[in-house]
C-alpha cells in the first residue's frame, strides 16, 4: 500500500520520469550495449563483438590524442575560468566606478553563441592581419597562424572557452558575495584581519557551496563545449585540438561508425561518472550546507 505522499509525488514526477528514461537512462544503457556490438551496415545487423571496439580504441592514436587534449583542456579551463570569475565578482562587488558597465562587459560573452563568437575570434587569430598577430608583429614575432599550428591551436581554443565561461560563473559568485552579512566582515576587520585574511578565512569558506556548484558546471562545459572546435579547427591541425565529444561526433556522423562511437561515448560517460563520484563524495563532506 502506497502512502498518500508517494501517490501524489509519483503523479507529479511522471512527465519528468518519462523524459529522463527516454533521453538519459535508456540511451546510457543502450550506448553501453552498443559498445559491445558491431556497427549495423546495410542488411547486416549489429553483432556481438566483445571488447573489439575497446581494443581498437587503445591502439587508436586519435583517441589517445583526444583523451589527453581533453584532460589538458579541462585542467586549464576549470581553474582558470573559476579563478577569473571569482576575481571579477570581487572587483564588481568592491564598489568600483562604472560598476554596471563593468558587470555587463564581463557577462556579455555568456549570451553570445559560441559558434558566432568563434568566428570573431578566428579574425583575432588570423595570421598577419589578425589583431593578436599584429601585436606580436610589433615585437618582431609576427607571422603566426595561431589556430593552424599544432603547438598553439589547443591553447587558442582554451582562451576562447575561458573568455566565454568566466562571466557566467561570475554571476553566481556575485550573487553569493552579496549575501554575506557585512557584519561578519566588519567583525573580522575589528579583530585585525587584513583584506587577504578576510578573503581566505571568511569569504572563501562562505563561498564553498557556490564553488561546488560552479565546479560542477565547469566540468560539464569542459567536456561538452566543442562548438568552436567544429567552427574553427575540426580537430586539426594534426588532431591537436581533437576533443572527446568532437571525436565522437566525427566518428558517428562523418564516418557513420556508430558502434565505435558508442564505445567512445562509454569512455566519456566513465570520465564524467568518476568526476561526479569525486565531487559528491569527497568535496561534499567538506562543505557545510545550511
Amino acid at each position: 500500500m502506497m502512502s498518500r505522499n508517494a501517490r501524489i509525488a509519483l503523479l507529479l514526477l511522471a512527465p519528468a520520469a518519462v523524459l529522463l528514461v527516454a533521453f538519459t537512462f535508456y540511451p546510457t544503457v543502450a550506448t553501453l550495449i552498443d559498445s559491445f556490438h558491431s556497427t549495423p551496415r546495410g542488411r547486416r545487423p549489429a553483432e556481438w563483438v566483445d571488447t573489439q571496439h575497446f581494443q581498437a580504441m587503445i591502439a587508436d592514436p586519435i583517441f589517445r590524442q583526444a583523451f589527453i587534449n581533453n584532460l589538458i583542456y579541462a585542467a586549464v579551463i576549470i581553474p582558470a575560468s573559476m579563478g577569473l570569475a571569482l576575481t571579477m565578482a570581487l572587483l564588481v562587488n568592491a564598489r568600483i566606478g562604472g560598476q554596471a558597465f563593468v558587470r555587463l562587459a564581463y557577462f556579455t560573452p555568456t549570451i553570445l553563441p559560441m559558434i558566432t563568437v568563434a568566428n570573431i575570434w578566428m579574425f583575432f587569430y588570423a595570421p598577419d592581419y589578425g589583431l593578436i598577430d599584429q601585436v606580436l608583429g610589433l615585437f618582431g614575432m609576427g607571422g603566426n597562424n595561431l589556430l593552424g599550428m599544432p603547438g598553439t591551436a589547443l591553447w587558442a581554443l582554451i582562451v576562447i572557452t575561458v573568455w566565454k565561461l568566466a562571466g557566467f560563473f561570475m554571476i553566481f559568485y556575485l550573487a553569493a558575495l552579496q549575501q554575506i552579512p557585512p557584519s561578519l566582515l566588519e567583525a573580522a576587520a575589528l579583530e585585525g584581519a587584513g583584506p587577504l585574511q578576510r578573503l581566505r578565512r571568511v569569504i572563501l569558506p562562505l563561498l564553498m557551496p557556490t564553488t561546488l556548484f560552479i565546479l560542477i558546471n565547469a566540468v560539464i562545459e569542459a567536456f561538452r563545449l566543442v562548438d568552436h572546435v567544429i567552427a574553427l579547427t575540426r580537430g586539426g591541425p594534426n588532431n591537436s585540438t581533437q576533443l572527446l565529444l568532437h571525436y565522437i561526433y566525427q566518428v558517428a556522423f562523418s564516418y557513420w561508425d556508430t558502434g565505435y562511437a558508442a564505445a567512445l561515448s562509454v569512455v566519456l560517460l566513465g570520465v564524467l561518472a568518476l568526476i561526479a563520484l569525486v565531487q559528491f563524495g569527497i568535496l561534499d563532506r567538506r562543505i557545510h550546507y545550511r
Binding site: L19, G97, G130, G167, L174, A175, I216, R224, L245, A252
Partner: protein, 266 residues
C-alpha cells in the same frame, strides 16, 4: 590594494572582455577594406547588414529560434516544477534516492548521448522538427534542482494555511509555491533562453532544413573556411543573430542580476 589599482584592473579586464564584440561592430559597419585597418574616419556603411540579410533566411531562422526557445522554456517550467514540487513537499520512501538519480542528468548531458538520441528521434519519426531539438533537454535536472531549492525555502505555514482553506495539491503549488519562487523562474528562464538560443551541436545533427534550423546552426554557412573568409559579412551576420538577445539583455540586465541574487542560486 587601493581603490585606484582595483579600478584599473576591473576596467582593463572589462575592455578585454568586450573587445571581440567591439571589433565585430567596427568591421560590420565599415567597407571591407577597413576590416583590418583602423581609421577613425573610415566611411560608415550598413551595406554589410543588408547583404547578409538578403543572403540568409534570417527571418525564418529567428522564427524557428523563437519557437524552439518558447517551447523549451514553457515545457521545462511545467515539467521541472511538478517534479521539484514532488521532491520538496511530498517526500516518500526512496525519494532521496530518486532525486540522486535525477541529478545524474546534470552530468550525463544530452550531448554525450547524441548517437543514441539521434536513433531514438529517428525511430519516433521526429527527425528535422523543432520538438526534436527540444525533447532531450525538457526534463532538466538543473531546473528540478533549482525549483526544489526554492520550494524548500517556502514557509510551511503558508502551505498549511492554503490547505486549511481546502486547496488541493496543484492549487497550493500554483497559489503558494510558484509565486514565491518567481526570482528563480526568471533567472532560470533567462539562462535557458540564452542556452538554447546559442545551442549548436545537437540542433546541427538533428535538423537539416531551413524551416527547422535555429539561428546558431543557420549561421554556420558563413564559417566555411573553404570559400575564403569574408569578415564584414561574418561579423554583420554575427551581430544580427545576437541582436535580439543583446537588446533584451541590455533592457533586463538589472532584473536579471537581481533575480539571481534573490533566487539565491548558490
Amino acid at each position: 590594494m587601493n581603490r585606484y589599482t582595483l579600478n584599473v584592473i576591473a576596467w582593463a579586464l572589462a575592455g578585454l572582455w568586450v573587445l571581440p564584440l567591439l571589433y565585430a561592430l567596427w568591421t560590420a559597419i565599415h567597407p571591407p577594406v577597413y576590416a583590418a585597418r583602423f581609421d577613425l574616419f573610415a566611411p560608415l556603411t550598413l551595406e554589410n547588414f543588408i547583404r547578409v540579410w538578403n543572403a540568409v533566411p534570417f527571418d525564418r531562422y529567428f522564427l524557428n529560434t523563437l519557437m524552439l526557445v518558447a517551447f523549451v522554456v514553457v515545457s521545462q517550467f511545467v515539467i521541472c516544477t511538478l517534479a521539484a514540487y514532488a521532491f520538496a513537499v511530498f517526500p516518500f520512501r526512496g525519494s532521496d534516492w530518486l532525486f540522486m538519480l535525477v541529478l545524474v542528468q546534470m552530468m550525463v548531458m544530452p550531448e554525450v548521448l547524441l548517437v543514441r538520441n539521434y536513433a531514438t528521434i529517428s525511430q519516433i519519426g521526429l527527425l528535422d522538427t523543432i520538438p526534436a531539438i527540444a525533447l532531450p533537454y525538457l526534463a532538466s535536472a538543473f531546473g528540478i534542482f533549482l525549483f526544489r531549492q526554492a520550494f524548500k525555502s517556502v514557509p510551511k505555514e503558508l502551505d498549511e494555511a492554503a490547505r486549511m482553506e481546502g486547496a488541493g495539491p496543484l492549487q497550493v503549488l500554483w497559489r503558494v509555491y510558484v509565486p514565491l519562487a518567481r526570482p528563480t523562474y526568471l533567472a532560470y528562464g533567462l539562462v535557458m533562453v540564452a542556452y538554447h538560443w546559442n545551442n549548436f551541436l545537437w540542433p546541427l545533427i538533428i535538423t537539416n532544413s531551413v524551416t527547422t534550423r535555429p539561428i546558431a546552426v543557420g549561421l554556420q554557412v558563413f564559417s566555411t573556411v573553404e570559400q575564403g573568409i569574408d569578415w564584414p559579412t561574418i561579423t554583420a551576420a554575427t551581430l544580427l543573430s545576437i541582436a535580439p538577445l543583446l537588446v533584451a539583455f541590455l533592457i533586463f540586465q538589472r532584473q536579471f542580476v537581481q533575480s539571481f541574487m534573490r533566487a539565491g542560486i548558490r
